[in-house]
């Protein structure tokens, strides 16, 4: 078994409206950041998990994203996996 750290990024799909991103973008521009073009607001998760192989870890994280972390109807996700420690 090894320990893995997965970094998961969830973002609203391109075609989907992102009121939070627009409001934040608007606020930043009002603060004087005129060079800002666009903001998309999403979610970020760090998951620590155990798995036998990195393939297994990958599969588990993919399923967690599909089942819970992202809403596939309106959100995209991607993740990165990193080995933290191997126990033997």
């Amino acid at each position: 078994m090894s320990s893995y750290l997965a970094r998961v990024y969830v973002t609203p799909k391109r075609s989907v409206r992102d009121p939070e991103g627009s409001t934040v973008g608007e606020a930043l521009r009002q603060l004087g950041f005129d060079s800002l073009q666009a903001v998309r607001a999403g979610k970020y998760f760090e998951l620590s998990l155990e798995a036998g192989t990195s393939g297994e870890a990958d599969g588990a994280v993919e399923r967690m994203c599909r089942q819970l972390l992202a809403n596939p109807v309106i959100e995209d996700f991607r993740f990165e996996l990193q080995v933290e420690a191997s126990s033997e």
């Binding site: 609203p12 075609s15 989907v16 409206r17 992102d18 009121p19 409001t23 809403n71 109807v73 309106i74």
Partner: protein, 713 residues
């Protein structure tokens, strides 16, 4: 006219309808024109399968200021120069696809219908139906729908004060989400959504236009199984923050008499709203799609005209007022585009810059829309709801019986500081400003009947009874007809029977129908015990006919409002109304009147109608709300404590006032006493339930269903 030769997209029009379009235009329509017809002639926009039936509803009464079918919402006088605008609307299909946004945007849409009338929204209610919560998908749908409704209304600062929730297998795959909004206005604030005055300008306010919700009107008008996921419209995402700004800005513009007319953008987007507003004024509109701000690039005129991007309003403004209007909008940080003007000829003209993209008579899109009377046939068998458990504590914990506090605590119920505090009442009470008068509000559907006629009639009976149990007089109702496809004989039969049931009951109870909404094609591809073999689409489960009634009652003195809970040990407990039997509208009228009269005279201590779970559950709720037990002895064998028969109200009062009850059957049941609910018949005990055990079963019921993955079926 630009010739558009590309073949029309596979539209929602039938070939017969396309031929009708050709005939009305006297020429070949282009793709955009065909799409305009497709949207405006959808069931969602033109009620082609239900229009002929809606005329059966009683719409007239002295208090009605704006009757059903004329404007975005119905309006009734409520005295003191005040009026109430109200309407209920479904957002079933969007909520099936994305429950949070579907429900949220459902609230957004109905709120726009209300402030379009010049009313300030003061209350929200809802009516929800899901498959049983033992399925994870249904739990997910429920929790996301509730969060979506709550987040939207909470952010707007409109209290969500009532609603109902019911589970049934026929809603698997096709949940129902109906949202109701109530607004308050002075008579002189009433506005019409009419595009009148040639040369007046059309201002589009609020959100930019994108592809979201494209074809939503069509989507709502077909069964969920019929469209592939790819064909479904992009999910609409709501912004309650933007809607809040729109409410404030529009009410300010109306107060300053800066608008000639105001119309929300709902089904069929700019097309629906431009056409409706023109139709009401017998005028025409010219819209330049190039002037419409976009949230994404590359939108075609068709997409601009049919986008259902949320939080947009169409304002009709005199040219000289544009600057003043813009000043108000700037204050609220709202964008606006002058996108067109009112024209005298009754046409919808769509331009893109200088080039004409479509030109269609308004009448052709509205009055001349087809109207169908589908062949009706009763289904082979009618579907009863799943039966309730007979064991009392199991019954109290059943998902269709237990407390809805888990839902309600996610809704801000006290914002606007007008929600009257009660220990639980059959209808929510909202105080009118500057007086002791109050509105009583509730939503109700049918819980007991498998016959659609009875479903309609019982929904009206229950809703009026709920209002009467607070002491309020039923004053007006709105309705949402949730049914399956009318293109199937069984569906058509159910639709017609449902309308008849509502119509007869509303007449008997003397309540005008002031607004409503029709949601057909509620069926989903789901195999299971309910899959229809009864004349529905093969392999599709048609929902059970679900008429939902939104009821308004008027209460003269909020200090006299009657609530559910038992108040005083030693009071006698009485059942008002018939012991059992089918719905009898005369008996219903009588029991409600008896209850209201007693409340008005001030000697009734509690009142609660019998609904799901019959007398047993009603008594348990009176005990729980009041924190007092009851000793009940049922001497007549004709009374079954579990039967869900209509027209019955449990009341409590002082012994000496008992003779004053009249005008309806009166049966003495027992007394308020102790901390247990003891029920026995002349021959044997039925149950003896401790308050705390009942509370545990009833109060925690829903949460257990939602959090325990092993919740019973």
């Amino acid at each position: 006219m630009t010739a558009v030769n590309a073949p029309a997209p596979p539209g929602p029009l039938t070939s017969m309808e396309e031929a009708q379009v050709r005939e009305l235009l006297g020429r070949e329509p282009n793709a955009l024109e065909l799409a305009l017809f497709g949207a405006m002639w959808s069931e969602h926009c033109c009620y082609k399968s239900s229009r002929h039936l809606l005329s059966r509803l009683p719409k007239e009464a002295p208090q009605v200021l704006v009757p059903a079918g004329e404007e975005n919402a119905g309006v009734v006088d409520v005295g003191d120069g005040l009026a109430v605008a109200m309407k209920i609307e479904s957002h079933n299909h969007p909520s099936a696809v994305e429950p949070y946004q579907g429900a949220a945007t459902g609230v957004g849409g109905i709120v726009r219908d209300i402030f379009t009338m010049g009313a300030r929204p003061i209350a929200l209610l809802n009516s929800l139906r899901f498959g049983f919560p033992n399925a994870r998908r249904n739990r997910y749908l429920l929790s996301r729908v509730v969060a979506g409704i709550g987040d939207y209304g909470n952010c707007l600062g409109i209290p969500t004060i009532g609603g109902e929730l019911f589970f049934d297998g026929t809603y698997d795959g096709n949940p129902l989400v109906n949202a109701m909004c109530v607004g308050l206005l002075r008579h002189d604030q009433l506005v019409r959504a009419a595009a009148s005055g040639e040369g007046n300008l059309l201002l589009l306010l609020g959100n930019a236009t994108g592809r979201d919700g494209l074809n939503g009107a069509t989507f709502a008008s077909v069964s969920l199984g019929e469209q592939s996921l790819a064909q479904r419209p992009a999910v609409q995402v709501g912004s309650p923050f933007l809607e809040k700004l729109l409410i404030e800005a529009c009410l300010e513009l109306l107060a300053g008499s800066l608008l000639v007319g105001l119309q929300d953008l709902g089904a069929a987007g700019l097309t629906g709203s431009g056409v409706e507003a023109a139709h009401r004024a017998h005028s025409g509109v010219e819209i330049d799609v190039a002037a419409v701000s976009r949230s994404e690039e590359g939108l075609t005129p068709l997409e601009v005209m049919l986008s259902e991007s949320q939080e947009r309003m169409l304002a009709v403004v005199r040219p000289g007022d544009v600057a003043a209007v813009r000043q108000v909008l700037d204050h609220w940080g709202l964008r606006s585009d002058v996108i067109g003007r009112v024209i005298a000829r009754p046409l919808l003209r769509v331009l893109e810059g200088r080039s004409l993209c479509a030109e269609v008579p308004i009448d052709a899109l509205t009055e001349q829309a087809p109207s169908y009377v589908w062949p009706e046939a009763a289904p082979r068998e009618m579907r009863a709801t799943a039966s309730l458990p007979a064991e009392p504590l199991e019954l109290l914990a059943h998902p269709n019986v237990c407390s809805r506090a888990w839902v309600a605590r996610q809704y801000d119920q006290t914002v606007q500081a007008a929600t009257v505090a009660t220990d639980g009442a059959d209808a929510a009470l909202v105080r009118l400003p500057g007086s002791r008068r109050a509105l009583a509000l509730c939503t109700d559907g049918n819980f007991g009947s498998s016959d659609p006629y009875l479903a309609g009639a019982l929904a009206v009976a229950e809703a009026t009874r709920n209002v009467s149990c607070t002491g309020a007089t039923p004053w007006a109702l709105t309705n949402c007809l949730n049914l399956g496809s009318p293109e199937q004989p069984a569906g058509a039969w159910e639709l017609a029977r449902t309308v008849d049931g509502i119509a007869d009951a509303a007449r008997a109870l003397n309540v005008p129908v002031i607004s409503g909404n029709v949601s057909l094609y509620n069926e989903a591809a789901a195999a299971g015990p309910d899959a229809t073999g009864d004349g529905g689409f093969p392999g599709m489960t048609r929902i059970r006919p679900t008429p939902v009634i939104g009821m308004l009652g008027l209460l003269d003195d909020v200090g006299q409002a009657c609530t559910i809970g038992f108040k005083r040990a030693g009071d006698v407990i009485v059942l008002l109304g018939p012991l059992g039997g089918p719905l009898d509208l005369a008996a219903e009228v009588a029991v409600q009147r008896a209850c209201r009269d007693a409340i008005a005279q001030g000697w009734l201590h509690s009142a609660h109608d019998c609904a799901e779970g019959g007398l047993l559950v009603a008594l348990a709720e009176c005990c729980l709300r009041g924190g007092l037990g009851a000793r009940i002895c049922i001497e007549t064998p004709a009374l079954d404590v579990l039967a869900e028969s209509p027209s019955r109200i449990v009341v409590s009062l002082a012994e000496e006032d008992l003779p004053r009850l009249s005008g309806t059957p009166v049966l003495r049941l027992g007394t308020v006493a102790g901390d247990r609910l003891d029920i026995s018949t002349a021959s044997a005990p039925v149950c003896s339930l401790g308050l705390e055990d009942m509370r545990h079963a009833w109060e925690g019921g829903l949460e257990r269903w939602l959090t325990e993955s092993s919740a019973p079926a």
